[in-house]
């Protein structure tokens, strides 16, 4: 009988090919839709993470309060040690120092006088360490339009927009005019080795990228960094993990250091700070006083009502604190909204296609009441007919979902690798948000099974519902439908 039914199933395209195609298309759409939404949101977050926030980042408490001013006088010291400790504590993340700085970039003419001058937003990143993944996450090999990546301390990359503004090319020398972390005037010459376009809207308008060693020399920040950025090894932002890590760090490490810094006598606290002793000792014995004095001379942070329990006199302002991506750039509401919106959209999408496939299963069952009536007449029992309907739906649903999943995941993978370019639309926006020009989908583990909800479950449930009528109807009623 199974062979007989299979023969009919293969021959009757309205029973096999049409439902199969519907399921394949629907499942493909579900998978691609969810994969693309997931990927697009991750692209947006990743762009922000790469340029400004990391998935998490560690800064001093004071730096966090004044981060909009790029206050390198509030930077972290002994960053190698901190990075080592962070790597030990959170091995799923990789950590990298970052110096962000502002200033003027001056291009000289043949006589050494200023030819062009303009503001610059500089970022010192770790180009040269063996374990550094900065070139990878910035995708610099892709976005570098001219020249080469920096090899020397004073090499620099600048954006196409800044290069155009300053009329400079690869090989030109530019002078950075800025202040050191001790608030002293500084000038430093960089040689432009490459020009890039990050394809991230207006973000790279005034951007210069240098190796962190160059930034340290230029700004007198030996061993220091504005921030230490952490990225999940997979480069996929997991908001729950990042926020729980931030809470853990701030409770167990940051607060302990704060306590030590405030109370030199409380050495007990050091015992569970697991490797932070060295920094704490340095910060506690020497640097806070020195830096607090410097801050006191500088009126820049006098207006510090927003510092809550911190004051410029408080040595604890140099305690490291961790910030998750959602805390930076006012992204919390965006992350929350996107999580809810993604859930709602995926849910609605799933419900719609589930109803479509449910309905298809139902209609397919109803359409065949005549056939069922006949089969009952020639002696099949209701349960045999019902069972064959379910097996058929299960088979079609499974094969369709399998093919749809393969197709959907392949399509999502293709868009994950190649992306969809929205350059024109993004470039017309004048937003401060870090928006990527190219959106990539994301193949996540859930894509391998999510299609089975509409593909198999809905199809089978729809068929089951249609099949219930076989049990509820008098057989003579099925016969009337058979004859009609």
């Amino acid at each position: 009988m199974i062979k007989f039914l299979a023969k009919g199933l293969i021959r009757d395209r309205s029973r096999s090919l049409f439902p199969l195609l519907t399921i394949i298309i629907t499942v493909t759409l579900v998978i691609f839709g969810i994969g693309f939404m997931e990927g697009a949101m991750n692209n947006f977050l990743q762009s922000t993470a790469v340029i400004s926030s990391g998935h998490v980042k560690v800064v001093t408490k004071a730096y966090e309060k004044e981060s909009s001013q790029l206050p390198n006088d509030l930077a972290l010291f002994k960053t190698n040690k901190i990075i080592q400790n962070l790597s030990d504590l959170y091995p799923n993340y990789f950590w990298t120092p970052r110096i962000t700085f502002g200033g003027l970039l001056d291009t000289p003419n043949e006589d050494g006088d200023t030819k062009e001058q303009g503001p610059v937003f500089g970022i010192g990143i770790d180009f040269h360490s063996k374990t550094s993944r900065q070139i990878e996450i910035w995708e610099l090999e892709k976005y570098l339009l001219h020249g080469n990546l920096p090899k020397n301390t004073n090499d620099a990359l600048i954006s196409t927009k800044l290069a155009k503004q300053l009329s400079v090319n690869v090989g030109s020398t530019v002078t950075l005019i800025s202040t050191t972390m001790d608030n002293a005037f500084t000038t430093y010459n960089f040689e432009i080795t490459g020009i890039f376009n990050l394809n991230k809207g207006q973000v790279d308008r005034q951007m210069m990228l240098v190796d962190i060693s160059g930034a340290r020399q230029a700004l007198g920040m030996e061993g220091a960094a504005s921030e230490i950025l952490g990225y999940h090894q997979s480069l996929y932002y997991n908001d729950n993990e990042a926020t729980s890590m931030r809470n853990d760090f701030n409770l167990t490490i940051s607060d302990s250091i704060t306590k030590v810094l405030r109370d030199e006598a409380s050495y007990d606290a050091l015992s569970y700070m697991n490797g932070w002793n060295m920094i704490s000792d340095i910060e506690k014995r020497k640097l806070p006083r020195q830096r607090t004095d410097a801050l006191s001379d500088n009126q820049m942070y006098d207006n510090n009502e927003d510092w809550e329990d911190l004051s410029v006199e408080d040595p604890a302002i140099y305690a490291p604190t961790m910030i998750a991506l959602r805390d930076a750039s006012q992204l919390a509401s965006m992350v929350d909204f996107s999580n809810v919106a993604m859930g709602v959209m995926a849910g609605i999408f799933l419900v719609i296609v589930t109803i479509v496939l449910w309905n298809m299963g139902l209609m397919n069952g109803l359409r065949r009441y005549g056939e069922f009536g006949l089969r009952l007449a020639i002696g099949e029992s209701k349960s045999q007919v019902y069972r064959s309907m379910i097996i058929e739906a299960l088979l079609i649903g499974f094969v369709g979902t399998l093919l749809g999943t393969i197709l959907g995941v392949s399509l999502t993978y293709y868009v994950q690798e190649n992306g969809i370019d929205y350059s024109e639309a993004i470039n017309q926006m004048s937003s401060d948000m870090v928006l990527p020009n190219v959106f990539y989908a994301k193949v996540t583990s859930e894509l391998y099974y999510i299609g089975f909800i509409p593909g198999v479950l809905a199809t089978v449930l729809g068929t089951m519902l249609a099949g219930f009528a076989i049990y509820r109807r008098e057989m003579s009623q099925l016969f009337k439908e058979l004859e009609s």
């Binding site: 023969k7 009757d12 005549g370 006949l374 009952l376 099949e380």
Partner: protein, 236 residues
């Protein structure tokens, strides 16, 4: 030679719910049918002939009364038991043939044998024989859409008799056919009735086939008006 009854119906009443009341389709029907009979249930639309046929076939249940078919009390059997009776002992012919469109003539005729778990070699023999009976050897691999109405109904007949049932129920088997095809179909059925021990019950109001019937039971408003045996049918 004594013949046993294949159908015994006593005081059969069938009512259908209509709104808050009910409609009586059959009332006080008493009927006996002997093995090998060729009977027509005749009457206008709504007289109750299809309802009676459905109850005999176990497709519907009586409201009151007793219905014995092939020595089984239909009202006391479960759905599965009724399905088994139909599968093994009954054949059905419908007005609109009801062939499965994706299967060939051979496969449509084969279906009852598959349900009865008949061995493949026996199936081939029986299906070939049934198709020969109805004269469709040259259409054995055709599908219903490629055949005329008469050929489709002959296929349906082959399907109904392939497992040599004790009882064949036909509901308006010639209603969709022209006169020539109607006569051809009735000739085939009447020949089968002579050659096999199968009993035939027709529900019909087609005057053309009356001449083949050996017994005519007139139904009107759910009652048997008269029950007439014909010793020599017109087209015997």
């Amino acid at each position: 030679m004594s013949t046993k009854n294949v159908i015994e119906i006593k005081n059969l009443v069938k009512q259908f719910s209509v709104g808050e009341g009910y409609f009586t389709a059959l009332q006080s029907v008493d009927l006996s049918l002997a093995e090998g009979e060729f009977v027509g249930l005749v009457g206008p639309s709504g007289s109750g002939k299809t309802t009676l046929l459905n109850i005999i076939g176990g497709l519907d249940s009586a409201t009151h009364g007793s219905v014995n078919v092939l020595d089984k009390s239909i009202e006391k059997t479960s759905h599965n038991e009724r399905a088994e009776i139909r599968r093994k002992n009954m054949g059905f012919i419908f007005q609109s043939y009801n062939l499965l469109p994706v299967y060939t003539v051979y496969e449509n005729v084969e279906l009852p044998l598959i349900l009865n778990n008949v061995e493949k070699t026996d199936r081939v023999k029986k299906v070939t024989q049934a198709i020969e009976w109805v004269g469709l050897q040259d259409k054995i691999n055709s599908k219903p859409a490629q055949m005329s109405g008469g050929e489709c109904q002959r296929t349906a007949i082959a399907r109904a008799i392939v497992h040599e049932p004790a009882l064949l129920l036909a509901d308006e088997p010639t209603a969709n056919l022209d006169a020539e095809n109607s006569h051809n179909i009735m000739k085939i059925l009447s020949k089968l009735n002579t050659e096999m021990s199968t009993s035939f019950v027709f529900a019909t109001h087609d005057e053309k086939i009356m001449g083949y019937l050996k017994r005519i039971i007139h139904l009107e408003d759910g009652r048997i008006l008269n029950d007439k045996k014909i010793s020599i049918p017109k087209f015997s």
